[in-house]
């Protein structure tokens, strides 16, 4: 839209002379495919993808990013076919709905000659993607455990609220347990709270009834953490140095950290903005004089009051 206006202005006023040759050139078309947002994290990803699209297209007039979201794996497979057939894309950025069913469709895009960037969820066959951009689930568990070890002492008790039983959840949990081992901190129990506020609230209520002495909570996720905090406040057990560690980087939590919240003093990043990182890197493949290929694993950064501001996006839904 904006581009077209700029072009129109250039044609009429002949002021922006550089715009005309840019549109005359062959455009670099990059398809971006991801699941339709149905939860807050994905909605944040959608927002960041749209922001990156505007920013990159303004920066490079010859780059055209085409954003498509799909409600299920088979719709995503069709969307990939359309990107090749209709738009004849030069590169694809894809966050696969599921690994197995989308491996072949992505391979077909690859065969059309397009450059492939896979985000977050790997394909089931290695070697298809040129670039892999992802968050670091085991690192998220490790960073959380390290923080716990720094704050707690030998003999302190924690409880863990886990996500939905999946590989992601196992990776986070196993790495956390590995790191906490031998520290003398007791993990009283761990239950699934499904990355969900309501479940976080109920599971924490039950933990509070069951264990009279809890010193900290690893909620693994910011939605769960919000439910946990409500349960702690209800039971009046939010004092005495109690703290909750979440994860992801939800804006409300980051705001709280910026304001010096005692109950959720830090957060561990697993950012939905990784889609923007992938889009940037893919564009850089066409624009940079340096090589872009391989694996780009984001760090699970510890967000503290000192650095929180740079991870706060007030406009994002997440």
């Amino acid at each position: 839209m904006l581009m077209r206006k700029v072009v129109g202005l250039a044609a009429i006023a002949s002021v922006l002379a550089f715009a005309a040759p840019a549109t005359a050139q062959e455009k670099i078309k990059i398809g971006v495919s991801y699941p339709t947002p149905t939860h807050a994290w994905a909605a944040g990803m959608n927002w960041h993808a749209e922001v990156a699209e505007k920013r990159l297209e303004a920066l490079y007039p010859d780059v055209d990013l085409i954003l498509v979201n799909s409600p299920d794996p088979s719709a995503q497979a069709s969307a990939l076919e359309d990107l090749v057939a209709v738009h004849q894309i030069d590169a694809l950025v894809v966050l696969p709905f599921e690994s197995e069913p989308l491996t072949d469709p992505v391979l077909n895009v690859k065969k059309s000659g397009a450059w492939i960037t896979v985000v977050d969820r790997g394909l089931s066959q290695p070697g298809i993607e040129d670039l892999y951009v992802a968050g670091n689930n085991p690192e998220l568990g490790r960073v959380s455990a390290k923080y716990m070890k720094g704050r707690l002492k030998d003999g302190d008790n924690i409880v863990i609220l886990r996500g939905i039983p999946t590989v992601i959840d196992n990776e986070r949990f196993d790495a956390f347990m590995e790191e906490i081992k031998g520290s003398g901190i007791n993990v009283l129990d761990h239950k699934h709270a499904n990355w969900n506020r309501d479940d976080g609230f109920q599971v924490m209520q039950d933990f509070l009834s069951r264990f009279p002495d809890i010193d900290a909570v690893w909620a693994q996720d910011d939605d769960i953490a919000i439910g946990v905090v409500a349960a702690l406040k209800q039971a009046g057990r939010d004092g005495n140095g109690m703290f909750v560690v979440g994860g992801a980087g939800m804006k409300q939590i980051i705001k709280g950290i910026m304001d010096g919240d005692d109950l959720i003093p830090i957060d561990v990043l697993y950012p939905p903005s990784m889609i923007a990182t992938a889009m940037d890197a893919t564009v850089a493949h066409f624009k940079s004089n340096g090589p872009i290929a391989g694996r780009y694993i984001l760090g699970a950064t510890l967000i503290t009051p000192e650095n929180a501001e740079s991870y706060y996006f007030a406009e994002s839904p997440f």
């Binding site: 947002p37 939860h39 807050a40 994905a42 944040g44 109920q202 009834s209």
Partner: protein, 340 residues
């Protein structure tokens, strides 16, 4: 199996007063509580029991409405999504009137009033489409389920809708405060249960529901206004969803696409565990209440033990539900005093 005439027998014989059909849910709940206590004495602590009752209130209140719908031979799959959509609209409207009305009681009352209007409206839509539109209830409510679920996702822009912090301060006591030792949601639950019980077993309307569920044609020939009664059952269901929403919103002050997921199935399960017949014609509010308590207790007990793998929670829930229904459905009788 229960044969139709037996179910509709107006004068149950005294000999069956101790029949497991009616006692089954109560026994199952008692058994669960004993297990809970043996696993961890903290199970019967005042705090946990209060949590349990408060938590049952959501599903329980919705299940009271579902008892009417199911007794009259219908089904409503849209309740969970409806609760999510109503919470979403409530939050948006309350946030938007802060400028004009402020963050006081008036805003909260406006939100609650709106919830009730929306609930009745949504219920009426389900009912009218079923009766006047002559579409099966399963399909109508499957459709509205999808509509409401995607509406809340749309309102929240895929994310989470959060209630204004100051309004939350005003509204919070509705969930967290108590009266005579019982939290407000439990009082609402008790109120809805008593009204539901009176309506189903002590009024002509209740008998019409049962008659329609048993045999719709016969009910029609008996000069019952079948369409009106059936529509009204969906309206009652919608109203119950509003009440559940009104006590749900102050808990976390937020609504998202994951609000109320699978509530419809939990409500239906509570109704069936309680002894109401899924294909209609027989309903028991008392049983429904016990059913809702049983469902919540299962989840609570599973959180109180680490003996069972987390991955098997669903298995335990499924087993207990089936056993509870088996207890009250099969012809278990104390003594073989009856010939078939």
């Amino acid at each position: 199996m229960i044969s139709a005439p037996e179910r509709h027998a107006r004068k149950p014989s005294r000999r069956y007063a101790l029949d497991l059909k009616t006692l089954g849910p109560a026994l199952a709940l008692l058994l669960l509580c004993v297990i809970g206590f043996l696993l961890n004495p903290a199970f019967v602590s005042e705090g946990n029991l209060t949590n349990l009752l408060t938590r049952s209130a959501f599903i329980g209140i919705i299940a009271v409405g579902a008892t009417f719908v199911i007794t009259a031979g219908g089904i409503d799959l849209s309740v969970g999504s409806m609760a999510a959509a109503i919470s979403g609209v409530m939050i948006i409207v309350m946030n938007n009137v802060v400028e004009t009305i402020g963050t006081g009681v008036a805003t909260v009352l406006l939100g609650c009033g709106l919830a009730i209007v929306l609930g009745i409206g949504a219920g009426w839509i389900n009912g009218a489409l079923t009766t006047k539109g002559k579409i099966e209830a399963f399909i109508v409510t499957l459709g509205t389920m999808g509509i409401y679920r995607s509406l809340v996702t749309y309102f929240a822009d895929g994310g989470t809708l959060a209630l204004n912090f100051d309004i939350r301060g005003t509204y919070r006591p509705v969930y967290y405060d108590s009266f005579l030792g019982l939290p407000f949601p439990v009082w609402v639950f008790i109120g809805v249960a008593i009204c539901g019980w009176l309506l189903l077993s002590r009024t002509a309307f209740g008998r019409y529901c049962t008659a329609i569920g048993s045999n719709e044609s016969v009910a029609r020939y008996s000069a019952i206004n079948v369409d009106a009664v059936k529509t009204l059952t969906y309206v009652i269901q919608g109203l119950c969803v509003s009440f559940a929403t009104i006590i749900y919103v102050p808990r976390l002050g937020s609504a998202s696409a994951s609000t109320g997921v699978l509530w419809e199935l939990e409500a239906i399960a509570a109704v069936i565990i309680g002894g109401t017949v899924l294909k209609g014609g027989y309903g028991r509010i008392g049983g429904t209440i016990l059913g809702a308590l049983i469902l919540t207790t299962i989840g609570n007990i599973l959180n109180f033990t680490d003996m069972i793998s987390n991955y098997l929670n669903g298995t335990m829930q499924g087993l207990i539900i089936i056993v509870a229904v088996l207890l009250q459905r099969s012809d278990w009788r104390l003594g073989k005093s009856r010939k078939t």
